[in-house]
């Protein structure tokens, strides 16, 4: 039986990796993947907490979050596609029209 604290620790590491990736990468697809990573790190935390407290609602939240993440990825990819069709790049450096 794996300790819930190990799972939570994995979540923290995964979240840190995702956050750093989101900061450092210019490619929008990679950033999107990093965001997914952070989301799943949060899911791991839910799961570990559910195990720790013996409460089923953590798993339920995780299941819902995964379903929503799938929808969110679809929307994110659609945004990236339309960005590419207008700007011919998906580099986040170029996406700064809200500047100032």
């Amino acid at each position: 039986m794996i300790e819930p604290s190990w799972i939570a620790g994995l979540g923290v590491i995964l979240f840190g990796i995702g956050l750093l990736g989101a900061f450092l990468h210019k490619n929008a697809i990679v950033v999107l993947m990093c965001i997914e990573l952070m989301l799943n790190a949060a899911n791991l935390n839910f799961v570990s907490a559910a195990m720790h407290y013996g409460d089923v609602s953590g798993w339920v939240f995780t299941a819902i979050a995964i379903a929503i993440a799938a929808a969110e990825v679809a929307i994110g990819l659609a945004i990236l596609l339309s960005m590419y069709s207008t700007q011919e790049t998906i580099s986040l450096e170029a996406a700064d029209i809200l500047k100032n």
């Binding site: 950033v31 450096e93 029209i97 809200l98």
Partner: protein, 756 residues
């Protein structure tokens, strides 16, 4: 060109008001005083009707020709007040019981006052009601009668002038609204409603003076009149506040007749209240020093001058002062207050100064309406002097003399209103016909002669044969104003001058000034009125235009004829019936006096000193003034020109006194000063440019630099600040993520730290 066609069939709608009033007279249980409210309601209803239908039907044939652009509606709505007021007068002068009728129509505002111990008092009510006494009766008759006649006259004067095309509905609407204000003010039973209607008249005066608002001079005159009278109105309002403070009420019935107030009134405080109210009256009645608006107000159409600035509105101030007389002990049971000598003196002095000043300025005016304007000021000043003398006499318990002074002043108001309304209409007739004649002869040749002024008497002369009706009317009117014995104003003017002197003889040296001034003015009146008449009607025609004048405009002659008869015989008749006592409230009804008694009273009074004064006045005004005027401006008509007997005789007589050349005098510095209205207007200009204008400039500077400056500084600073803040937003997603992450982290750290 004016048609001489008979248009009386258009008057058929006038049968409606006649029927209404007759129905009310016959209706059982309906008293004349119940109908009094109709006097105000009828023009009030007509005002929107004329204005709105004027906007809708403007320019349509039927509206223009059959309804005279609203003129018929206006005349009809003014006929009801006339008939009702005649009905009320008929009821009242025959009644022998008390003559004050007070009708409380309805409560208007109820309120409670917070007293010093923070408790509310038992509540007070401001009401709407009707107060009818002899002064009300006289003024309501003058107002409704003149309004009716002048409205009638306007249908001839306004509707045949192409400059007014399609605008007359505005004139008639404002006219009836004005009439409503005058009627309401006269009938009001308290000072509050008096003030409200007073202001309505002020507004209508502004609108009507500025009727030709596209002319700069008219617009300016309207503004001047409004602002000058406003100065007085502010003082009037202050006076009313003090009055309310004294009496806790503005009802006439409370102030004059509530026995519980007997002897409780502080006369110093009352003096200030009345003085403030008097300043209001000075503004409205164009007395020195607030007289400057009246001559300029002649920019309005002539009927407006006739109605507002001679016959009714300027009487509002006199009416107010007449309402102030019962504040003094009059010896008949009112709440009299002692110690108001000074008020009487101030009023008499203002009157005397204005009378003299206006008469001397009238000497040199060449505009026929301006002469009449200054004459109006001068005559109103007579009435003020009389009222001032009345207050002084009452206050010193000379009740009999006070009664005569008060009654004579009110009677002079009547005579002057009738005569001056008619004189203005007659001058309107002259101006109108001269203008038409000028247009007529210049229409074919050239239109370049725009410098011709149809109001300038130097363009007239010899009009007596061309305008016989107008000439007769103007002659009788002038005689009434001058005070030729037995005609019109003689009966009242004599009384005013005599009683002013009487108060001097009763050991008041301060009265000598007004007394001498009004005596001199009597002679001056004789000069300037005769001068105006001779310049206009006698002698050789001074321009070609005069030969083409004729008297054919419809609607104009009837009012002139009616008022001529009243001016000529009204004074004598009313004197025979004891009008002076009646107006002063000494008798409850008119009763016939012996003709010998009346004449003896006027010509051979018991007091020998007063007899001397009376005969001096007559000598000055009847002999000296007119003869001097005829020496300067008189002269017989051309050989082939005829007029009626009376005028021919007068004109021929005027040519017999020889000729005097006055060109030297008219170049003198005094004459120039008079031409410039004694520089009073210039002085006000100077004063305003030295006081009000710098202050306004400072205020403008303060507003622009200090107040706007602060606001603008705040604005620039915020722009700068927001520019700085905007630099944070780089538009890059990663920066936002960083900020979010750092923010979240710090919140968590804070939460974690504080939870420990």
């Amino acid at each position: 060109m004016a048609k001489s066609k008979n248009e009386y069939n258009l008057l058929a709608p006038l049968l409606i008001p006649v029927a209404i009033v007759l129905g009310l007279v016959i209706a059982p249980g309906f008293d004349s005083s119940d109908a009094a409210i109709l006097i105000v309601l009828s023009p009030l209803v007509a005002f929107p009707i004329i204005l709105i239908s004027g906007q809708i039907y403007n320019g349509q044939d039927k509206w223009k020709n059959n309804l005279k652009e609203g003129g018929i509606i206006a005349v009809a709505s003014l006929l009801i007040p006339l008939l009702v007021s005649i009905w009320i007068i008929g009821d009242n002068i025959s009644h022998t019981e008390g003559h004050n009728i007070i009708t409380w129509l309805t409560d208007w505002i109820e309120f409670q006052v917070l007293e010093e111990n923070y408790a509310l008092d038992q509540g007070r009510v401001l009401g709407i009601g009707v107060w009818i006494d002899s002064i009300t009766l006289m003024l309501i008759f003058v107002a409704s009668f003149l309004c009716f006649l002048i409205c009638w006259f306007s249908m001839g004067y306004m509707n045949t002038d192409p400059i007014n095309e399609n605008r007359n509905h505005r004139f008639y609407a404002e006219f009836v609204l004005f009439a409503m204000g005058m009627f309401g003010m006269v009938l009001a039973d308290n000072f509050l409603w008096l003030f409200i209607f007073w202001e309505i008249m002020g507004l209508c005066s502004y609108l009507l003076i500025g009727f030709y608002f596209w002319k700069e001079s008219a617009a300016k005159a309207a503004k001047k009149a409004f602002l000058t009278t406003r100065v007085g109105d502010v003082f009037l309002m202050i006076g009313l506040f003090i009055l309310y403070d004294i009496y806790d009420s503005l009802e006439f019935s409370v102030i004059f007749e509530d026995p519980s107030l007997q002897g409780t009134v502080d006369s110093t405080k009352l003096f200030w209240a009345l003085l403030m109210m008097f300043v209001g009256a000075v503004g409205k009645s164009a007395q020195f020093p607030l007289h400057v608006w009246l001559p300029d107000a002649m920019e309005g159409p002539t009927p407006v001058s006739a109605l507002i600035h001679a016959a009714t509105m300027v009487n509002a101030g006199l009416y107010l002062v007449a309402r102030m007389v019962p504040f003094v002990v009059t010896g008949d049971g009112y709440n009299g207050v002692e110690g108001l000598d000074d008020l009487g003196l101030i009023i008499a002095w203002i009157g005397g100064i204005t009378a003299f000043m206006a008469a001397s300025i009238a000497f040199v005016q060449n505009d026929i309406k301006k002469v009449l304007a200054y004459s109006t000021m001068s005559q109103l000043a007579y009435i003020f002097t009389g009222l001032g003398a009345a207050i002084w006499l009452y206050n010193n318990h000379h009740y009999y003399a006070g009664t005569i002074a008060f009654g004579a002043s009110m009677f002079h108001l009547f005579n002057h209103a009738m005569a001056k309304g008619m004189l203005f209409m007659a001058s309107g007739s002259v101006i109108h016909e001269v203008h038409h004649a000028h247009d007529h002869i210049h229409h074919e040749n050239d239109q370049s002669d725009h410098h011709f002024d149809p109001q300038d008497m130097r363009n007239m002369g010899g009009l007596a044969s061309k305008l016989p009706v107008t000439a007769t009317a103007m002659m009788i009117g002038s005689m009434s104003i001058i005070g030729i014995p037995l005609i019109g104003g003689f009966w009242s003017k004599e009384g005013i001058i005599a009683e002013t002197w009487a108060s001097f003889f009763y050991s008041e040296p301060m009265m000598l000034g007004p007394a001498i001034l009004v005596l001199l003015t009597a002679g001056m009146t004789g000069f300037y009125m005769s001068r105006m008449w001779f310049m206009t009607f006698a002698g050789e025609p001074k321009t070609e235009v005069v030969n083409h004048v004729n008297e054919n405009t419809p609607w104009i002659k009837e009012p002139l004829v009616i008022l001529t008869v009243i001016s000529a015989f009204g004074g004598l008749l009313l004197s025979l019936f004891g009008i002076v006592d009646y107006l002063a409230g000494k008798s409850d009804h008119l009763s016939y006096k012996e003709i010998i008694y009346t004449l003896e009273h006027a010509f051979i009074p018991e007091d020998k000193k007063l007899m001397v004064i009376g005969w001096t006045t007559m000598f000055l005004s009847t002999i000296i003034g007119p003869i001097y005027a005829s020496r300067v401006h008189g002269g017989s008509l051309n050989e082939n020109q005829k007029s009626n007997l009376l005028i021919s005789w007068l004109v021929t007589l005027s040519g017999k006194f020889g000729k005097q050349d006055v060109s030297e005098i008219s170049q003198s510095s005094l004459a120039n000063a008079l031409q410039e209205r004694l520089y009073i207007d210039d002085f006000y200009d100077w004063l305003i440019s030295k006081t009000v204008l710098p202050f306004s400039r400072f205020s403008a500077w303060f507003d622009k630099n200090i107040i706007d400056g602060i606001i603008k500084q705040i604005e620039t600073n915020s722009i700068f600040g927001s520019l700085q803040i905007r630099k944070i937003t780089t538009g890059k997603a990663r920066d936002y993520i960083l900020m979010t992450a750092v923010g979240m982290l710090s919140i968590f750290l804070l939460a974690w730290g504080s939870s420990r």
